[in-house]
Symmetry: C2
Amino acid sequence: MPVPAETTYNGKPLSQLFAEERSGWSGYVEWEKYPEKKALAREILKTHTFPHPPEFQFVPLPDTNPVLIGYRWKDYHKALGLQSIVNYSWEVVQKEKPDLIHLLDFPYNGETTRDQLLEGKITDNMHHFVRNHGGVPAIEEDAFELEIGGLVNNPVKLSLKDLKDPSKFPQCEVTVTLQCSGTRRIEQIREYPGDGDELINAPWGEGAIGTAVYRGVPLKKVLKRACGGVLPECQHLEFIGGDTYFKKGNVFNYAVSVPYRKVRMNEEVILAWEMNGKPLPKIHGAPLRLVVTGYIGARSCKWVYQINALAEPSMGPVQSQEYLYYTSQLGKQNVKYSNGFSIQQMPVSSAIISPVDKSVIVHDGSIELKGWGYSGGGNWVERVEVSPDGGHVWYAVQPEDMTEKHYHAWRLWKIKLPVDAEGWLEFCVRTWDSSNNTEPTFVRSAWNWDLHVTSSCHRIKIYSVNKTRPATAKRLEELRARGESIEPLTRPLEYTIEGQDEYLTACKNYPREPLS
Amino acid sequence: MPVPAETTYNGKPLSQLFAEERSGWSGYVEWEKYPEKKALAREILKTHTFPHPPEFQFVPLPDTNPVLIGYRWKDYHKALGLQSIVNYSWEVVQKEKPDLIHLLDFPYNGETTRDQLLEGKITDNMHHFVRNHGGVPAIEEDAFELEIGGLVNNPVKLSLKDLKDPSKFPQCEVTVTLQCSGTRRIEQIREYPGDGDELINAPWGEGAIGTAVYRGVPLKKVLKRACGGVLPECQHLEFIGGDTYFKKGNVFNYAVSVPYRKVRMNEEVILAWEMNGKPLPKIHGAPLRLVVTGYIGARSCKWVYQINALAEPSMGPVQSQEYLYYTSQLGKQNVKYSNGFSIQQMPVSSAIISPVDKSVIVHDGSIELKGWGYSGGGNWVERVEVSPDGGHVWYAVQPEDMTEKHYHAWRLWKIKLPVDAEGWLEFCVRTWDSSNNTEPTFVRSAWNWDLHVTSSCHRIKIYSVNKTRPATAKRLEELRARGESIEPLTRPLEYTIEGQDEYLTACKNYPREPLS
């Protein structure tokens, strides 16, 4: 039963029940301050049946773009009269992210293509991946206000003008790689299906990662100068965003937290309004977002309008019930929110971006590979190693073939490997970070129920055609003369590959059976 | 450009050019005795463009039955005015094999289902797999004639009545497992795509194998009594079948050969007309076929009407150009017919038939597995071992849990394994034969360009739910009370899996972050 586009509930207009209450704030509903609104939304949601999340773990991924359609999440919004958020969000996608792989249309999950990933150390704003958890609100800069409360000496409300005033708060620029903990999840899915939660664990490839220079103010400075510092009991800072989030029939504003220990590191947690020298795009959290370096992207709360100083981590479902790292032996029958550990800092990981898995490479004895390596928690990439034989022999990337070091950013790399063998070969990459961490060898080594953090050595299969070999060169020449191609690999050649005389001679020299 | 259903070529009716020349032999064309007919067919084939074989190695297999459609092969027949063979063959499939998985509709490739495989030591005729290389001819018993020539003392022609006369030739019954060398090919395809020849390398699962009791006469006795024996130069016996075969624009009758050394073993190479006490089904080669024990099924020529004693193996394309075992490093750019070795005897192999890969098993501490083990060349299955942990610990199947030994047949087996762990587990099986041969550990160990003989340990992934564990039992009880199921595994539970109080207590006992 599809959810009807209702405008009333018990005779009352939904637009009044869940009104846009702040002028200049469109597509935003305040939930956290109104328990009665949350209760009412829960009642309304109970009256509907929602579509199941799409199945893509036991069946092939659709060959479409958008790849997956967020029917369930759209219907949640529709049921509460918030259809306009869905529509507006897709308008923003088309304007700000026309060229991404649209992995999920709503809430929008968009992946950077290979070419765009290799553009350079900095990802263009238009090409930077997006992983949203709800719709995109439209908040006017002048109407924006950030409220800071909880365990601080002085709760305050700050305008964007206040925050941007360098006489009030010192500004900084930080080069930051943000990464979804779902990056390369497709490799886990291919091995074993896992969790399919309300907000589906999107089947990301290698492009749920990107790097930008963010300008803003350290949250630490704002807490100190505007709020007179935090109280001694404060251990965590909770961030609340303008997007509406759903979990098992309940409605929330997006909420996450990071430890105060992290915030104290100044430039490691900033309130940002600029991305690569340009105003923050709407889809990336304009007018204001958090940027938390070295952490899972989910903590870098977008459209942040409230910050609460807390003694404990946020009880918001995104913090307490999601982005948890379970063991491989703990599944649907045993999972609890408390028996996974919270994914905050990201481990060392890497990916081969070029060539593409399962491609045929005709080469003259060497193959060039390109990709990225990254580590969180302030660890930088020290060494990238690539193997042409599934992980037996490893070649180190030369320093001149990597982009420069940053404390909180990836390094792009390239390497040309000697390749003698032909046929299917497995290439893999592993990165070592400045703490000597490296990656698990196989996906199985780190498969986990929620399918997070696929940081095992990235592996691709390449079909090698080495034209320095005379027989191969001869065959390629024959193909060219006949106007045929070696690809598609599985399409038969139209001509006989060995004449009868040659066959008989070969069989005479090396008989098929013993002679006695 | 689709091939038109032409009835003439250069003004002459195709039905005259490629006539059914023997009365009572329908759907059979003699090619091997008429080089001019072969040349003409080649000319005609050149005037058409044929569809490419279907691509299924780089994309998911269609979810249909028939799974694949043999457009190309059908068009070859159509181009020579042999459309009726295509039509008749499908009629025979529907009558004789209604319940198989129709992997390829023409030439017919049908796979036995799991239930049918586990029916018992003997596979019912209706359920026995079929791998044909051309259409099914309809040959009346009374009109049938077998011609034996080449390096024999006396070339002869024998009627079926002659052959079945026990006063002329001693009869025998042999229990034989026949196996396509493509069995379990899908595992190779999933790892790396390979050859896609004219007659596609079908994506078989575990069901391209079956066992029957065949009645007939040893070929050796026929050669001796009817032909006065073979000449000293005779090293191979070539079998020619009534089906029409195509290879790179040329047309043939199906032809293969086996060494005379094999034929000399009497009951190991028989001319059979009965299968499991019933007349040989049309689709299995009626009225007469070869049954070659311990060899790849392809040598057990169906509708055999001619046998030639030769000094060398058959030059027919099925023998000389196909069923070759290439190395993994030799691919499309280097393959020749002479640089693979001929697949005659089959190696030891096995498969887990139940449970099915990627299924969820709710159990009380043990899981039962069933399957088959087989070895060719007269080796019997001595031991079957099953591992619940990907191949570290192995449990041997007890003798009473295996079907009885035969020199030339599989053994079905079952075993109940203790399983404590939950979540995704990998089970695998390996068989040891009477020559102490066992299976390669991984598909990669034996991947080969033509994708033949997938005899590595068969592996399945099972999601284990151990209800002897209290927490699991409790969750299952809760699911039952709510009318929900643990499956589909990737569908989220609708209810909260941990209350806030329980979560907070757990986080107090085991805090998410260090306290200092």
